[in-house]
């Protein structure tokens, strides 16, 4: 029981990270209908930027952790958002309205570029960060050293994700940018005809998606303390799986999918085998899609004859 609860907490923390990355996939897919394969690498770039920013802050003497974290968050979101914007501008905008597979290949190209650029710039070896946020709280004590604990970093991850999700849902539901985004999602051409600046809306979508991915990158960095240029691929595939599982195009779906993938992975590792945790996640994706072809919260596709 205590083991089960402990894994629940671990799974939620991991799932929150996946969920934040999944939002970027789902938003871009919703608006321009493409799989942004470079998004996982944006997440990785975000983690690197955060690490370097933190080291710079330490070097110039800002060591108070809450302040440093806040600044790192700000810098990383800003600069990573710039990466999101640049990728869209270079690789996707010239292909708008083109053949469906062209942006996909272009995105794969961008993903190769980002990975190897980071490897060139920072080397292939893993980079580490000593644990910044320590301390655990015991939630339940069953005696005999059977305890359920939640660490401060897990609390931070879950709370930040929750806050960002709330803020983001509000943004999509109640601001004029959100309205433009929803209009573009329904019908890009019609939205443009009605005076929505679609290029700007799409750019902002990429900016926001990248900013959220950078937060996920920071969380990953704080949680695991180890990053390399390759983390983007695995996390990207998982997050995209999460987005599809939840129903691509749906924001709550992305979060739900992220949490599910996180939980499946954690429980599978805990009770069966660590090696096959990804197989479990992917198999569940396949099974869910067979029975719900548009994901859990996706709108069922009505076949128009």
């Amino acid at each position: 029981m205590e083991y089960f609860l402990q894994q629940l907490i671990n799974g939620l923390a991991l799932g929150s990270i996946y969920g934040l990355v999944a939002i970027g996939y789902t938003m871009v897919y919703g608006i321009i209908g493409m799989i942004n394969f470079a998004h996982g690498d944006i997440f990785m770039v975000g983690a690197f930027i955060a690490l370097i920013a933190f080291l710079i802050l330490v070097a110039i003497g800002i060591t108070a952790i809450p302040l440093a974290l806040f600044l790192v968050l700000l810098i990383a979101m800003l600069l990573t958002a710039l990466y999101g914007w640049a990728v869209e501008r270079i690789a996707y905008r010239p292909l708008r309205g083109s053949f469906r597979l062209a942006p996909l290949i272009s995105a794969i190209g961008m993903s190769i570029v980002l990975q190897n650029y980071v490897q060139l710039a920072q080397g292939a070896r893993v980079k580490t960060l000593q644990p910044l946020i320590t301390g655990v709280h015991t939630l339940f004590d069953f005696g005999n050293r059977l305890v359920v604990q939640i660490s401060n970093i897990q609390i931070l991850i879950i709370l930040t994700t929750f806050a960002l999700m709330t803020g983001f849902s509000w943004l999509v539901a109640s601001t004029s940018l959100g309205r433009d985004m929803r209009a573009c999602e329904q019908d890009l051409k019609m939205a443009a005809l009605l005076g929505v600046d679609t290029n700007r809306t799409i750019s902002l979508t990429f900016l926001l998606g990248a900013a959220l991915a950078s937060v996920a990158g920071i969380m990953y960095l704080l949680y695991y303390g180890v990053i390399d240029f390759h983390i983007g691929f695995v996390a990207g595939v998982k997050a995209f799986t999460a987005a599809v599982l939840g129903g691509i195009g749906s924001l709550p779906g992305a979060m739900l999918g992220g949490l599910l993938i996180g939980l499946i992975e954690t429980y599978w590792s805990a009770y069966f085998s660590v090696q096959y945790k990804d197989v479990a996640a992917f198999s569940i994706l396949i099974i869910v899609l067979i029975f719900m072809p548009t994901g859990i919260l996706g709108k069922p596709e009505v076949e128009k004859v």
Binding site: I35, I52, V58, I90, F99, V113, L120, F282
Partner: protein, 473 residues
Amino acid sequence: MSAARSEKSSVLSHALKDALIAAIVAFGLFILLLGFLIDDMRGPGQLIGRPVLLASVVGMVFVGRFLISLLYYNAPALRYWLGAIWAAISAFARQYKWQLLALMFAAAACWAFYSPRDWPLILIIIAAVFIGVRFGFSAALLVVAILFPVTFYNNPYYLGIAIIILTYVMLGWGLNIVVGLAGLLDLGYVAFYAVGAYSYAIIAQTYGWSFWVCLPLAGVFAAFFGILLGFPVLRLRGDYLAIVTLAFGEIVRIVLLNWVSFTNGPNGIGSIPRATFFGIPFNATDEGFAARFGLEFDPTHRTVFLFYVILALALLTNWVTIRLRKLPVGRAWEALREDEIAVRSLGINPTNTKLTAFAIGAMFGGFAGAFFATRQGFISPDSFTFPESALILAIVVLGGMGSQIGVAVAATVMTASFELFREFEQFRLVIFGFAMVGIMVWRPRGLVSTRDPTVFLKERKTISANHVAEGRG
């Protein structure tokens, strides 16, 4: 006069403005990742500043963007001149076709006279040019492929690259059936390549059967896996199918990595039996190929043999695809890519049609895998990762979906440039990635985007890409 000057200066100031913006963005992008290096060697958390690197990269972006902007704003004039020059050259070449050929022949003769060792290279060039002029580009390509080992017999490095290229040509053609003809987006094609390689390796090692027995078996196993995957998931559409095939590819790789008792896990399978010349091994013994045919032993014999094996396999793939396109099943694939609902209204079972595309594509992937295993003598899960699938898909899309010749050219260009610039490592990969983006922006539908009809009443007219659908499956 003054109007022209002010126009010129406004072009200049526009270009400068663009360049400045680009430089600012570049500064934002690179300040942390290029401006600083995390130096773990000196201890945890050490940073090294690299202001010179940062400044030079930002400067390069500034200059590059400035030049591009200048070109862009002057594009009409530039396009006019380039077009005029090209038109003049091609008109000249068309008018004096035979004279030019004769001139080339003379030049080749001179070359052969002064450097007799190069005659095979000269031969291949002359043959390619003549065949190309007479029978077209595909025929020239085929002649080059057939003569290649003759020309480069003494250059095992080039032979090796040529074998890799042909493997990718074959993989591209195999995936072209699924993506190009049937319009089904498959991001996990490498799984079938892996199944072929591992089934060959395991069967050949366990039972000691020869390459020519194991090859069809590997194809059958891969096709079986294609059906196994396809059966439940082929009613998914578009990107859902894409992610499921990607997931399937990862599942196969992870299983290969972790089922140690069967696949030897991450260490891979070594000492896979080498291909034999229909039972005669390529070694220095009395039973070997060289001794049997009265030749001096030379390891290149095996390489040349492998070259012709993969050439034959690739041509088989091509021949089958060309035949299938003209058969009802091939037409049904293309129809499915165009409009699935209409296909169903005509009494065609969409699931079976997709399954055959999946299975046949997978089978050729399996053949290629078996070949890969016997060529390398060693396989491990590292050879079957997602980037490999992405590369094969990129070959198909860059070549032009459904076009056999386009895929062959794309495979050649991509693989060759990839292999030849190996010393540049990551740098070449960055450029490679940008090249993929660039080609897509330049030709979103690939090098050859037209479609040849499979049957005609009076005349065969090439169909422009505007009409050809890309498939939603």
